[in-house]
Symmetry: C2
Subunit: 80 residues, 2 copies
């Protein structure tokens, strides 16, 4: 079983990495780029078959270790 976790800064939180990407692209001549935000994607290989239990576990992992819930949002997707 796989879990795909997307972690990104909450709207309104300053994203200097995203800002640098947008500016870098503008400097290269890509003037259609107005803004950029950067986040993380984490793919976990999990043992077990119970998707509901897996999602509960992964939510707990995000809250305890993977995401900083003060400034970051996360979303979880469980796949076979």
């Amino acid at each position: 079983m796989k879990a795909i976790i997307k972690i990104g800064l909450k709207p309104g939180v300053l994203d200097p990495q995203g800002r640098a990407i947008a500016r870098g692209l503008n400097d290269l001549g890509y003037n259609d780029v107005k803004d950029a935000r950067q986040g993380k994607i984490i793919e976990l290989d999990l043992v077990g078959e119970d998707k509901v239990e897996a999602e509960k576990q992964v939510k707990s992992m995000c809250e305890k270790l993977l995401a900083n819930t003060v400034i970051e949002n996360f979303s979880i997707q469980i796949e076979d």
Copy 2:
């Protein structure tokens, strides 16, 4: 228009960040985690309406600046 770009290490390329995540989760007692891989997700705000043209542009951005195509794969998704 929005472009969602996912960038991850190619299979077989060593991912020390992913390894650290997997070990950290195991140390916290999440023993169902066998392996982890970490990648980036970049969300671009784009001016313009032409999705085909946008996808071509974003592919060029990935090749020139955003991804290291020697060791990384990327995928692009264009949304309204």
